[in-house]
């Protein structure tokens, strides 16, 4: 049984991490790199074997669960340390191990000059292990372990250059902001346990339509809490501010953790819990709204940033916003599709930017780049391919996934969501090509003392591989023009949701509670798939993307003086360049009051009240001791007197 290998997948990176973490300094750089990449490769190969095993499952069985041991039990409640293999997990496993492996290989080249090379790979492998645990766990609590594990590794790796204060601060910020979401997630898990009495995914999802009323308060609270958890991990409004700062970490970290895998954990979680989300139209509306809003907002900020990695960070925030938009309108397949293609092209973009930074000795400001096209041909071409993919140019992967999201946001959502998606698409094309033009085209503004050079093969080969994936990744979801495609059919067992059955159950439950069920008949009208609308939308979004690219071309190639003229003194530009002052707002409204409040508690409550109580007790006892001190004069005759007095008083008391 190939599926028996399941538990090995997260185990390999964990072992690699332990070896590298404890013995990394002794075994030397080559061995560290070999172990790190080797463990990822083994994980990937095992995933393939598991995939084959999954295909051999008997007809009708769509889920395989492997319980390694029972983690803990209390009464009739028990939590297993178990894994589940279903189509969604398999997709995520391939993304994590595949893209993870490529980025590990790249890191060998990128991190080669580092002294604490082994520390980096130990954390990196640990991250991969935690991420696999997150996507493979068969219950909420195990997912939470992975969820916290990746957050922890993210903190370690953002603060990798710990001697830099900004890196430490960024790590702390990421951790603290994530805690907000994690807490909501934990509350959701508790609530789910309260309602269902179990936290196994398959049990909860199966029982959801029978236990929760469609649109009821309970399901809305649960899904809202889950979504808050997702906004923390996936950097959505209002908890997105940590992601751009997280770019303080080494570039491969940004590629793997802050673009391809960890930040998409929120999307994975929402899709995993789709059975719950489907029951709450209100949450769905909020998810779509927040997603769309984040997509636009982050894209506008990305237009005015100069740090090459920050532009990509905002781009990531924006693209994840897309995924949530898709979730919110019920197009979970589109969300996962975009997650996969995004992992390919965004990892490639980040690694490309790392290659650029590597080639010009650590410079990150795009104003000090330019004209690197000829010096870094491989980086340039792979970067260009990925940029075309993210901009949504036919026939690259981003075109299909983005188009699918836009189609569903119009058909299953409404025109506002679609408008958000389309404007974000145009902005994406604009800022991505602004990045390409500023970095690779035009006059060189590189410091003359630096000689730009192409990166070594160990770094360029991963770029080529990812660019290749970014090109063909769209094949997964090429529309078959009867509405759905390969990925959708593949994920169907996970996402299957019988709305009519759920509504029927809800009516029944409401009826038993003596309440009147609202009319849900209009929800059940089947939506027609309109081929013409889809084709027209494709052409339209292609046009939108080309408009964005053309705009960037006009601004940054044709008339390089234009951006300054247009933006000078514009309050809108200042607003965008300063990221809508959201960081300042949070600082003023949350961070500073917390700090001030803590100081108040420290000085008034802790130093005065608590310390006062403790010291006061000691002082009181000390005072009594001093009073009693006179009795202990040290003169024998005094003591004898006390004995006599005591004896006499005893006699008096007794008689």
């Amino acid at each position: 049984m190939l599926l028996k290998l399941t538990c090995l997948v997260p185990l390999f990176p964990l072992i690699g991490s332990i070896i590298n973490g404890f013995f990394g300094l002794k075994i030397g750089k080559n061995a560290v790199g070999l172990i790190a990449c080797g463990s990822m490769a083994l994980s990937f190969l095992t995933s393939i074997l598991i995939y084959i095993g999954y295909l051999m499952l008997p007809e009708g069985q769509h889920i395989f669960e492997q319980v390694v041991w029972t983690w803990f039990g209390a009464g009739d409640f028990s939590v297993d340390f178990g894994f589940q293999i279903d189509p969604l997990t398999l997709v995520m496993m391939f993304v994590v191990t595949g893209v993870g492996f490529i980025i590990h290989v790249y890191s060998i080249g990128y991190m080669h000059e580092e002294y604490s090379y082994y520390r980096f790979f130990a954390y990196f492998n640990l991250f991969a292990s935690a991420m696999l645990l997150l996507v493979m766990g068969n219950n909420f609590l195990l997912m939470f372990i992975g969820w916290e594990g990746v957050g922890c590794c993210s903190y370690f790796l953002i603060g990798y250059y710990f001697e830099k204060k900004s890196a430490c601060d960024a790590g702390t910020k990421a951790f603290v902001v994530n805690r907000v979401g994690d807490f909501a997630f934990l509350l959701a898990v508790m609530y789910i346990f309260n309602v269902f009495g179990t936290i196994d995914f398959s049990d909860v999802m199966h029982a959801a339509p029978d236990k929760l009323i469609y649109g009821g308060e309970i399901v809305t609270i649960i899904t809202m809490l889950l979504f808050v958890g997702a906004t923390g991990k996936s950097a959505q409004i209002p908890l997105y501010t940590w992601l751009p700062d997280a770019m303080e970490g080494p570039t491969p970290v940004s590629a793997l953790i802050h673009a391809a895998t960890m930040v998409t954990a929120g999307v994975y979680m929402v899709v995993r819990c789709s059975a719950l989300f489907n029951l709450s139209p209100m949450t769905m509306m909020v998810v779509a709204g927040i997603g769309g809003l984040t997509a636009i907002m982050a894209a506008t900020i990305g237009m005015a940033q100069y740090d090459i990695k920050r532009v990509l960070a905002y781009s990531t925030v924006s693209q994840i916003g897309y995924m949530f938009l898709a979730c919110g309108v019920g197009a979970y397949t589109a969300a996962i599709f975009h997650l996969v293609t995004h992992a390919f092209f965004k990892a490639c973009l980040f690694l490309g930017s790392g290659s650029v930074i590597h080639g010009i000795n650590g410079e990150q400001d795009m104003r000090n780049m330019g004209g690197l096209k000829s010096q870094m041909p491989v980086t340039y071409w792979t970067f260009l391919v990925s940029t075309l993919a993210i901009a949504g140019i036919f026939p690259l992967s981003g075109f299909f996934s983005k188009d699918e999201i836009l189609y569903h946001s119009l058909m299953d959502g409404n025109i506002i969501f679609w408008g958000m998606g389309v404007s974000a698409a145009m902005l994406t094309a604009f800022y991505m090509f602004r990045l390409v033009f500023m970095t690779f085209h035009g006059e060189s503004r590189v410091d003359p003392s630096v000689h730009p050079h192409e990166s070594p093969k160990v770094m360029t080969m991963p770029l080529v591989a990812l660019a290749g994936l970014a090109t063909v990744g769209g094949l997964l979801g090429i529309p078959l023009f009867h509405g759905w495609h390969i990925l959708h059919n593949w994920l169907e067992p996970v996402l299957h949701f019988d709305l009519a059955h759920a509504l029927h159950q809800s009516e029944h439950m409401l009826h038993e509670a003596g309440r009147h069920a609202p009319s849900w008949a209009h929800l059940l009208t089947p939506k027609e798939h309109n081929l013409w609308i889809e084709v027209m939308l494709m052409v339209f979004s292609l046009g939108i993307a080309i408009t964005g690219i053309f705009g960037a071309y006009m601004f940054y190639i044709k008339r390089p003086d234009l951006p300054d003229k247009v933006t000078k003194g514009q309050w809108g530009y200042d607003l965008v360049q300063n990221k809508y002052y959201i960081d300042e707002l949070y600082d003023e409204s949350i961070v500073q009051p917390t700090v001030e409040g803590s100081k108040l508690l420290w000085k008034e409550c802790d130093a005065k009240a608590i310390d006062g109580a403790v010291n006061g007790t000691a002082k009181t006892i000390g005072w009594f001791s001093r009073q009693a001190q006179v009795f202990q004069s040290g003169f024998v005759r005094n003591y004898a007197l006390f004995i006599v007095v005591g004896f006499i008083s005893l006699l008096l008391v007794m008689f």
Partner: protein
């Protein structure tokens, strides 16, 4: 035999008087030797009452116990005098008010 001549209460009165003399001696005298002697007086006062009760009750355990007290007193004297000598070596006096070491 004794009870015909001297009643028990007289012995007890004698014992109590000697005991109080001992107490007063311990409390008011400063010379450590005298204090020590006063303690001996108190011990012997107790001995008197032990023997008196013994005779009155027609038992022998009181007499045995008074020997016990004498033994302890002898042991105490040997240890106590040794302590007094070492005190005197440290300070050229045996005045108790010069010694207040018995405190923390």
């Amino acid at each position: 035999m004794l009870e015909d001549t001297v009643p028990l209460s007289h012995y007890l009165m004698l014992s109590a008087t000697l005991f109080v003399i001992g107490i007063v001696g311990v409390l008011i005298r400063r010379n450590v030797i005298v204090v020590f002697m006063s303690i001996e007086v108190m011990l012997n006062a107790v001995n008197i009452s032990l023997i008196a009760f013994d005779n009155y009750m027609n038992l022998s355990s009181g007499q045995i116990f008074s020997f016990m007290v004498m033994c302890v007193a002898a042991a105490e004297v040997s240890v106590g005098l040794a302590i007094i000598i070492s005190m005197h070596r440290n300070k050229p006096t045996v005045n108790l008010d010069e010694f207040n070491l018995l405190k923390w």
